[in-house]
C-alpha cells in the first residue's frame, strides 16, 4: 500500500528539496476555515500538513497551541470533526500528505479500530500521538497498520542511542526530531546543537528526518533545512492566524508567512 508521505519525500529527495511541514490546530481560529487554510498552506509550498487535534490537557504544548486548542474545543471541535475537515480538504487535494498530531485520550474514546478506519476513509496519512511512545502503541498500531496509516515517531535530545535504534525500527514515513528540551513554541533553538543528534539518528535509519520546535521564520528554517529533510513550523504560524477577521485573511496571512520561509529553505539547498 503506498502512502502519500513516502511519495512526497521520495519526490523531494529526487528534487533535492527539504519538506516544509506547517502545523495548525484544527478548527483554529474557526472550525469552518480549516480546509481553506490547509489549501493555502499547500499553495504556499507546504509538503506535509500537520493538523493538531485539540485536547483539553496538552501537557507538551506551550501557551500558543494551548490557547488555540482551548478555543477550538470551545467551538465544538472533536476528532470526528477534524476527520470531516480532512475529508473536505481531500475533495480538492489528493496529493498533500496529512498527519494528525495530538494526544491519546480522544482516540481512546473514539475507539482504535473505528478511528483507524475513519481516518483512512477521510484521507489521513499518519498520526503522531505526543503522549504515546512506541512501547504503549501496540493495540492502536495494529489497527493503523491495517489501514495503511503511518505512526510518526518522536525522537528528543534526551533519547539514548539504544532507544533511537528501537524507535527507528518501528517508525514509518518520517521521524520527528524535537529540537530542544522544552515545550512547543519556546525560543530555545540552537541550530548548531542539531548536528550531532541528527548524525546519530541517521546512523539508525534511512527514513527522512523532520525537525520541529522553536523554528520561527526564514532564518531558522533555512538553517535547519541544511541538516534535515523536513522543517516543522507550528506556534509561529498559529500566532499569525490569531485574530484573523475572516477566512480569506487567515489564508492570506498563512501564505505571506510561509512563502519567504519556503524561499529561504530552497535557497539554502542551492
Amino acid at each position: 500500500m503506498s502512502n502519500r508521505i513516502d511519495e512526497r519525500f521520495n519526490a523531494l529527495a529526487g528534487a533535492g528539496r527539504t519538506a516544509l511541514i506547517p502545523f495548525v490546530t484544527a478548527g483554529y481560529p474557526d472550525p469552518a476555515w480549516t480546509p481553506s487554510i490547509m489549501h493555502a498552506l499547500a499553495r504556499a509550498g507546504a509538503d506535509v500538513l500537520e493538523l493538531g487535534v485539540p485536547f483539553s490537557d496538552p501537557a507538551a504544548d506551550g501557551p500558543v497551541i494551548q490557547a488555540a486548542s482551548e478555543r477550538a474545543i470551545s467551538r465544538g471541535v472533536s476528532t470526528r470533526l477534524v476527520l470531516d475537515m480532512v475529508r473536505e480538504f481531500r475533495t480538492q487535494d489528493q496529493q498533500t500528505p496529512v498527519v494528525l498530531m495530538g494526544y491519546l485520550n480522544p482516540i481512546e474514546r473514539y475507539g482504535h479500530a473505528e478511528f483507524a478506519r475513519d481516518a483512512e476513509d477521510a484521507g489521513v496519512d499518519g498520526i503522531l500521538m505526543v503522549d504515546c511512545p512506541p512501547e504503549e502503541m501496540g493495540h492502536l498500531r495494529s489497527h493503523l497498520d491495517e489501514h495503511g496509516i503511518y505512526p510518526i515517531c518522536l525522537v528528543a535530545p534526551t533519547t539514548t542511542a539504544q532507544r533511537m535504534e528501537r524507535i527507528a525500527s518501528q517508525a514509518r514515513g518520517y521521524i520527528y526530531y524535537v529540537s530542544f528540551k522544552g515545550i512547543t513554541g519556546a525560543n530555545r533553538l540552537e541550530e548548531t546543537s542539531l548536528e550531532e543528534p541528527v548524525r546519530e539518528l541517521r546512523s539508525h535509519t534511512d527514513l527522512p528526518l523532520a525537525v520541529g520546535f522553536g523554528i520561527k521564520g526564514p532564518e531558522s528554517a533555512a538553517a535547519v533545512a541544511g541538516l534535515a529533510d523536513g522543517v516543522v513550523i507550528g506556534s509561529a504560524l498559529i500566532e499569525q492566524l490569531s485574530d484573523s477577521p475572516s477566512c480569506d485573511e487567515a489564508c492570506q496571512r498563512a501564505l505571506r508567512f510561509l512563502a519567504p520561509i519556503r524561499e529561504a529553505m530552497d535557497n539554502s539547498r542551492l
Binding site: F55, S56, D57, P58, A59, A60, D61, G62, P63, Q66, E70, I73, S78, T79, R80, Y103, L104, N105, P106, I107, E108, R109, Y110, V130, D131, C132, P133, E135, E136, C153, L154, V155, A156, P157, T158, T159, T160, R163, V178, K181, G182, I183, A186
Partner: protein
C-alpha cells in the same frame, strides 16, 4: 487467635516492569520525558533496596515527620454511629498536617541521591505543595510549586505557608485552573528543565514509576496501622476507609493489607453535588478508562475524549483522574469505591470536630462520612479504620464561606 504482623501482597498487585497494573498504568509521556522516567525508575529501585537509604528515610519519618502516628479509638463517633467501633489513623498529626509529607520526605531524599538541585511540584489543596516546600527548605533546594488560580484563592493559607518556606508559587491560569492544570504546567516545566530538576508528584498517578513509588512511600501508614491494630486491639480492622482524589493516602493505608483477604477496602470519592449531577470528581464511580497525565486509568471525559471539569468542596479531591492501581483494585474487586457528597462531607466535618475535638481536612471528612455510614450497618464487635489523612486548619476559611460567615 494469632495474627501475622507482616504479610506480603500477592504479586498480581505489583506492576510489571513498565508499570502496568493489569491494563492500567504504563508510561504515556512525550519522548523528551521518557529518559527522565527511566532515570527515576533506575534510581528508585536501586535506593529502595539500599539499607542505608532506607535507614535514613526511617529516621526522617521518626524524627522529622513524627511517626508513628497513633491509632485513635473514636468512642463518641462510634456511639453516634451505633454499630462497629471506629478507629482513626491520625495522619493529621504528622508534621505539616497530612500524609503528604511521607512521600515528599522520600522523594526529596531520592532527589538528593540523584544530584538534582531543583524541586518542582503541583498542588491542589496545597498540602502537597507545603510538604514539598518543607522538604526543599530543609534540604536547601530551590522549589517551584504550580497551583491552579482557583485553588490559590480557596487555599490562601497554604499559599502563604509555601511562600514562608521559600517556595515560589506559580499560578496556573489555563484550563479549569485546578489540580489537573497544575500537573500539566509542572510537566511543561520538567520537560524544559529536566537535567537539574526533580518533579515530586504528590499522588499515586503519573507515569511509572510514580504510582508505585508514591504508594511505597505512603505505605508506612498501612504498615503501622496493621501493626498497631494487632498489638493494641488484637484484631485486624474489618474495613479500611480512605478518601480518594489521586489516591495516595488510600493506597498507603490499603497496600499493606492487600494480602489480608478478610479486610475490606473502601475508597471514598468526591461526589460533589451528587453523582447524578455530573458535578463531582468521582472518576472510579462515574468515569471510564482512558489516558491522562502519563497513565491509563479511570477518568472523567466527554464523548470527544476531552477531560471534564470536576467539582468538589475539597480542592485535594478535585481531580478528574485517579491512580492506576486503584483502577486495578476496582476492576479486580479487591477494593470498592463509593461517593460522598459535599454536604455529607461537611456534616462529617462538624461531627468529628464537635464529638472528638478533631478538626479534619475536608478531603478526610469524606472518609469520615463513609466510615460513619459503614459502622452504622455493622456489629459492635467489628471495626472500621478510617484514614484521617489530614487536618482541617487549611479549610477553616472555606467552611466559614460556605456557611456565610466572614472571618
Amino acid at each position: 487467635m494469632s495474627i501475622e504482623t507482616e504479610k506480603s501482597a500477592p504479586v498480581s498487585f505489583e506492576p510489571d516492569e513498565h508499570g502496568h497494573f493489569g491494563p492500567y498504568g504504563g508510561i504515556y509521556v512525550s519522548e523528551t520525558l521518557i529518559h527522565a522516567h527511566e532515570e527515576l525508575k533506575e534510581a528508585y529501585f536501586r535506593w529502595r533496596d539500599d539499607d542505608e537509604f532506607m535507614a535514613r528515610l526511617d529516621a526522617d519519618l521518626a524524627h522529622y515527620v513524627g511517626r508513628p502516628s497513633p491509632i485513635y479509638f473514636a468512642s463518641r463517633l462510634t456511639e453516634l454511629a451505633g454499630g462497629a467501633r471506629i478507629f482513626l489513623k491520625r495522619e493529621d498529626l504528622n508534621h505539616t498536617g497530612a500524609h503528604k509529607i511521607n512521600n515528599t520526605v522520600g522523594q526529596a531524599l531520592l532527589a538528593d541521591h540523584m544530584g538534582k538541585s531543583r524541586i518542582i511540584a503541583e498542588t491542589g489543596a496545597g498540602q502537597h505543595g507545603v510538604a514539598s516546600a518543607t522538604v526543599a527548605a530543609r534540604m536547601g533546594k530551590s522549589c517551584v510549586v504550580y497551583m491552579g488560580e482557583v485553588d490559590i484563592h480557596r487555599q490562601a493559607i497554604n499559599v502563604f505557608r509555601m511562600k514562608l518556606l521559600g517556595a515560589e508559587v506559580r499560578p496556573v491560569t489555563s484550563g479549569s485552573q485546578t489540580l489537573k492544570d497544575a500537573l500539566n504546567e509542572a510537566m511543561r516545566d520538567w520537560v524544559t528543565n529536566v537535567d537539574d530538576t526533580f518533579y515530586i508528584i504528590g499522588t499515586v498517578a503519573g507515569a511509572h514509576p510514580y504510582p508505585v513509588m508514591v504508594r511505597d512511600f505512603n505505605a508506612v501508614v498501612g504498615r503501622e496501622a496493621r501493626r498497631q491494630m494487632v498489638e493494641q486491639y488484637d484484631t485486624l480492622p474489618d474495613v479500611l476507609v480512605a478518601c480518594v482524589g489521586g489516591g495516595s493516602n488510600a493506597l498507603g493505608l490499603f497496600h499493606p493489607f492487600i494480602g489480608d483477604d478478610d479486610v475490606r477496602m473502601v475508597g471514598v470519592e468526591a461526589a460533589g453535588h451528587g453523582l447524578h449531577t455530573g458535578q463531582h470528581a468521582a472518576s472510579l464511580c462515574a468515569g471510564r478508562p482512558g489516558v491522562l497525565h502519563g497513565c491509563r486509568t479511570y477518568l472523567m471525559d466527554d464523548d470527544a475524549g476531552q477531560i471534564e471539569h470536576t467539582h468538589s468542596v475539597s480542592a485535594g479531591l478535585d481531580y478528574p483522574g485517579v491512580g492506576p492501581e486503584h483502577a486495578w483494585l476496582k476492576d479486580t474487586g479487591r477494593a470498592q469505591y463509593v461517593g460522598i457528597t459535599d454536604d455529607e462531607a461537611m456534616d462529617a466535618f462538624h461531627k468529628l470536630t464537635r464529638l472528638e475535638g478533631i478538626l479534619p481536612a475536608l478531603e478526610s471528612s469524606h472518609a469520615v462520612a463513609q466510615g460513619l455510614k459503614l459502622a452504622a450497618e455493622m456489629r459492635p464487635d467489628q471495626t472500621v479504620l478510617v484514614n484521617l489523612s489530614g487536618r482541617g486548619d487549611k479549610d477553616v476559611q472555606t467552611v466559614a464561606e460556605l456557611e456565610g460567615i466572614s472571618l
